[in-house]
Amino acid sequence: MNTQGRKTHIDALGVEGGGAASAAAGTISGNRALMLEEPLIFEQDSPGTTGVDLPEPPAVKSRLGQVRERGRIGLPGLSEPEVIRHYTRLSQKNYAIDSGLYPLGSCTMKHNPRLNEKLARLPGFSDIHPLQPERTVQGALELIDTLAHWLKTLTGMPAVAMSPAAGAHGELCGMMSIRAAIEDRDGGTSQRRRVLVPESAHGTNPATAAACGFTVDAIPADATGRVDVEALKAKLGDDVAAIMLTNPNTCGLFERDIVEIAEAVHAAGAYFYCDGANFNAIVGRVRPADLGIDAMHINLHKTFSTPHGGGGPGSGPVVLSDALAKFVPLPYVVHGPDGFSLVESTADEDSTGKEFGRLKGFHGQMGMFVRALAYILSHGADGLRQVASDAVLNANYVMASLGDVMTPSFEGPCMHEALFDDRFLKGTGVTTLDFAKAMIDEGYHPMTMYFPLVVHGAFLIEPTETESKQSLDAFIRVMRGLAERAKSGDADHFLGAPRMTPRRRLDETGAARKPVLRWVPEVEQREAAE
């Protein structure tokens, strides 16, 4: 989920001057106690040093044919302690769920259990090659099959494609499945090329539809923050391939009319793709199959707690209805009398002949599968139901506790995330971005900002089920305090924020105008300048 604020141009900010000297807070080193300045790894080069001990290569006559050996690359040399110190210092400049509440709506930053990390590192999973003979990887195939069983059962769907590498990749898989099914049903010249996508959808939805060769038609939202059902029905026709709907939606609301929508979509001969980014709100309490959904990706990192790792890797298995079950990517796991095996091509005897091809190298994000299954088994069917209940309870508690000082965008219970907008800041001179930056000085990662686009100055807060009441109460106290401070006329406090971070507001406009995307040696910098 993107939460990037509007472009920051530091000239436009009311930051008090000071320059580099004030940055150092008076220290000789530029460090601020535990907050250490850290140069780039390239600026710490001791030529000839290395952090690994590798044996001298045996003397052989090289067999490189016509290819020349390369010259100097320009990589810096450092010892192991220097490298460890470098990355440790970098890590200390990051906010993380291990440090505190991370209320990024739609991103679902929940606790990442370390048991999952331990299990994913068992050599039986981490040290197996994807092309080992199948007999030597029966346990790995069993794990994929077991996870597939849980995903199918929790969603009520008959089939699942396990290989997509991320949520957006799962969307791509689902939409390819829909297009393959349409071509199989209507023939390759089918006119169904239009996909309906709500205005409030994640940007990945329209981008995915386009990547699948569809055109995108936006569906407006109604006054309650949900898809306008009448507008949707009016857009249905025999050129519509599918709708892509997020449920619970990006306003944090459940699409009440979803069953009616599904029926109308099916009656029009189209398919129903559900963006499953928010499955964590309903897991164990609602099965997507019962809503009439044909395809839905599941972000394993969101619902099943595989760590986000600074933005990836993810994993996005896609559950499929009977109508789409055959239109899957290769490869997939099957279970026969001799154990588990992989269907890797349409030439395979277990192939249905309807598979649409390969989506990534090898079989899927195995390391994520292990973590997700560990989380699922830890919770079980009863615990997962509790996950959804607590996620929804926590979000509604935040909504109820802040509803009088901030402006909730829509009425009624929210699901796992609470949406506010910037009406409460009207006339204060404080923007959503300023408010977010002030939260940083209070020790909180900001919420998702400016999304969904259907709301002006959105604040999308997702506490998740792994926050305690105490942690929510502390967060609520800070949010109330900031809201009251903004309304009291103390705009300066916000405009200069954050003040206590390793870096203060960064010039995003300048970064985009003159992109510097890599380090270059000083010599080359000088040459380029001349």
Binding site: N2, Q4, G18, A23, T50, G51, P58, A59, V60, L64, V67, E69, I73, L75, T88, K93, N94, D98, L115, P123, G124, F125, D127, H129, P130, L131, P133, R135, A166, G203, T204, A207, R256, V286, G310, G312, P313, L330, E344, R358, L359, K360, H363, G364, M366, M368, H379, L393, N394, P413, S468, P498, R504, L506, D507, E508, G510, A512, P515, L517
Partner: protein
Amino acid sequence: MRYLPLTEADRRSMLATIGVPSVDSLFRDVPESARLAAPIDGLAPHAGEMEVERTIAAMAAKNVAAGSVPSFLGAGAYRHHVPAAVDHLIQRGEFLTSYTPYQPEVTQGTLQYLFEFQTQVALITGMDVANASLYDGATSCAEAVMMANRVTRRSRAVLSGGLHPHYRDVTATNARFHGFEVVTAPADPDGNEDLAALVDDKTSCVVVQNPGFFGQVRDLTDLAAAVHAKGALLIVAVAEVVSLGLLTPPGEMGADIVVAEGQSIGNALNFGGPYVGLFATRDKYVRHMPGRLTGQTVDAEGRRGWVLTLSTREQHIRREKATSNICTNSGLCALAFTIHMSLLGEEGFTRLARLNHAKAVRLADRLDALKGVEIVSDSFFNEFTVHLKKPAAKVVNKLAKAGILGGVPVSRLYPGDEALAELLLVAATETNTDADMDALASGLKEALL
């Protein structure tokens, strides 16, 4: 339920604050017919740490870990030694449990390592710029082709017969749905293909892998010139990134886009994923690139810092007009790559590459001496193809029974192609000992009897 902190008393008090009698009433927008009253049947109840560990460890125990036996598997995934410091550092919670660095003031750690990663990738590939990674080598390849289509406004891609079949298949899948043409040269065990002859004035790009799928290394300078003369781009795929420590980089041979699988550096085999796709190009094409980018800037006090940048190419701004639907990167795998690369440095990376090549040469010499085994091509990096007098899949199964992971039968990736049935791909890395090589040689001798 050790991960759920709310107590029953907390829940009651929170419901009172909200003003509803029960959690069920918070789900009142869900249609009655779809509301489940109780946990779903057919699934186990929650389990403790010991029990979960026992269940999953039992599955792990059914697999043969590659490191526990002599192993020579490659074909796009390579077993290398990963220094202990790498895994230790990536498990620091501040890396492991952080999110996409959208708030740069509190994510300078992630942003700085991505900037360093981008620089390392640009340096080793010999290109101007790199992104912050994509899913894997195969998906990077497909993205590169789609980028070449955008840059040239053409829609016909020519793929080498020596391109990894997965890279080819993923590109073909995207071609089918995105609507562009893919022309694939035949499988190329000998490395004698004339790709330039396939290029016409509708061709957006030629994709060639170096070292090729069958192991050969080649100089691409002439091919680059021929491709450019037709107004197309040269995309070079690198499935074994360690090779860049020894061979002339694709950038110096005239590549316009370089894609690579970064798994070999810092990342374990993991049964095929997650891996890390590298993607590098020329400065002039930066705004056509897919994926996330970190850029250097200054903060309000004039100090150097980093932010995500050029996001106007991306799906969250451009929606259906974005360069790609990708909204993530392989963050943690890229971190592992960048730490391992930092540990290696110039000295270590080039030595690692030499060591790999030397091991493969030794292995080739050993296998060449066997009756019924013939090395198909004499120029390679750390992997080469051998022709056996028997179907390679059968030989590999026999070797597996003898406790040796003896390579990848080419037929596994080219199913149904009888002409390739007796070809075996064998890789050697720094992890292979002389004893491993002896085991493979005697195992092969036995299996070929």
